[in-house]
């Protein structure tokens, strides 16, 4: 049992995943490091991976012309980065930049997509986990949109 297998098996995102499915994930995984300030991906480029942040801080940014980069959200230890790989056209929606030295696990998107097509049970398990992340992020985004502190202004 590899170190990556144990690390992923202990991570809340993969809690309860069968050893067989976890091995599929491990086979798509590789450790990566990012320097502070390093761009992880650019808006519009091919969404060829997703990441599990082990340690560090990532900014999701958008860069409107003439206005400078705008950070829409930061992600941190334990967060999943990237879901544009799930559905066509498999293009990143935002930029991602490392705000600090970051260690992560990179999952190859093509391999994951092939695996979930080949094994519907694995695909269901994986999509269920990503859906939970999506729901939480959407709820958080809605809370942001509500501008609950507006009365403070």
């Amino acid at each position: 049992m590899s170190a990556v297998f144990e690390l992923l098996g202990d991570h809340p995102f993969f809690y309860g995943m069968s050893e067989e499915h976890l091995q599929v994930v491990v086979d798509c995984a590789s450790p990566v490091d990012f320097e502070q300030g390093e761009t992880i991906f650019h808006e519009g480029r091919a969404a060829d991976a997703c990441f599990l942040i082990l340690e560090g801080d990532i900014a999701l940014e958008i860069d409107p012309p003439g206005k400078g980069k705008h950070v829409i959200q930061t992600l941190h230890n334990g967060d999943i980065l990237g879901w544009s790989w799930l559905f066509p056209p498999y293009r990143w929606t935002f930029d991602a930049q490392a705000l600090s030295e970051t260690r992560a696990i990179r999952f190859d998107a093509s391999a994951l997509r092939a695996a979930k097509e080949a094994d519907p049970a694995f695909g269901y398990d994986l999509l269920t986990r990503f859906t939970e992340v999506l729901v939480r992020r959407m709820q958080a985004a809605r809370l942001q949109l509500m501008d609950v502190y507006a009365a403070d202004r």
Partner: protein, 269 residues
């Protein structure tokens, strides 16, 4: 019921619409428990409930942090050192700081909600060994709406306290966390089997915070929130502050979520 008139010592402009009044202690000595409030009277205008934001160990002055919202608070914004205000109190049930002894204390503040929680941190940090981990999670709308930045910086410098700050909307000069304060809860280093949470901020923020804390397996009996309702008398007579069967002014403003019996979800309460 009659206010005691005290003299303003200093006025500190905290944010664009938020300021802190430091005034003589009513009667020369003012004791309060963290989470309690006063009724503050502006001559000829009216009274408003204001949470006490100072250090409970400092009894010769009264410190109130006020957000400019309406006629009374607008009248209070023009006060200068040497002016007088009327004060009644302290009123209300305080934060159960004693219940946190021997446990991790998670303080979650949103916006001006940090003001009524600051006395908790003063008290806890003055008796640090009585608590396990002390964690402050603070969120505001934007970087220029973060309250008590100097103190937050000092607290962050402590080795025996965790401070995590986030803003809903960053700006080009902001290099910190961007996102709602509830997102900090997943990363907060507390043991849900031995922790207490004090939460104060906009009611919607408190609802989402309660849900996030419960998803970390913190029982609702261990989550305390500060409710806000229109208060007029402050002493449980007029009924304006009723929240279901409770009077926020004297049975609150601090409530255990276990006591609330899902009242938070009842519309029009």
């Amino acid at each position: 019921m009659a206010p005691e008139f005290v003299t303003i010592r200093s006025v500190e402009q905290e944010l664009e619409h938020t300021f802190t009044l430091v005034m003589d202690a009513p009667g020369g000595r003012f004791e309060f428990a963290p989470g309690q409030f006063t009724m503050l009277y502006a001559y000829g205008v009216g009274e408003v409930p204001i949470s006490i934001s100072g250090d409970p160990a400092v009894t010769e002055e009264l410190v109130l942090t006020i957000r400019r919202m309406g006629a009374v608070t607008n009248a209070l914004t023009v006060l200068e050192p040497g002016d007088s205000v009327g004060v009644r109190g302290p009123y209300g049930e305080p934060w159960p700081v004693a219940a946190a002894r021997g446990k991790d204390l998670v303080v979650v503040a949103g916006g001006i909600g940090l003001a009524p929680l600051r006395p908790v941190l003063y008290r806890v940090l003055a008796d640090r060994d009585a608590y396990e981990r002390v964690i402050l999670l603070y969120g505001a709308r934007s970087p220029n709406e973060l309250l008590f930045l100097d103190e937050i910086s000092r607290w962050r410098g402590r080795l025996d306290m965790t401070v995590m700050v986030t803003v809903d909307y960053g700006d080009p000069g902001w290099h910190g966390s961007v996102g709602v304060v509830t997102k900090l809860i997943n990363r907060a280093p507390f043991d849900p089997d031995n922790a207490v949470a004090f939460v104060c901020g906009p009611e919607i923020m408190m609802r989402f915070t309660k849900a996030a804390l419960e998803s970390r397996a913190l029982p609702e009996e261990s989550i305390y929130i500060s409710m806000e309702r229109n208060m007029k008398c402050g002493i449980g007579l007029c009924g304006h502050c009723q929240f279901g069967p409770y009077f926020v002014c004297y049975q609150g403003p601090i409530f255990s979520c276990g006591t609330m019996d899902d009242l938070c979800w009842v519309k029009e309460v």
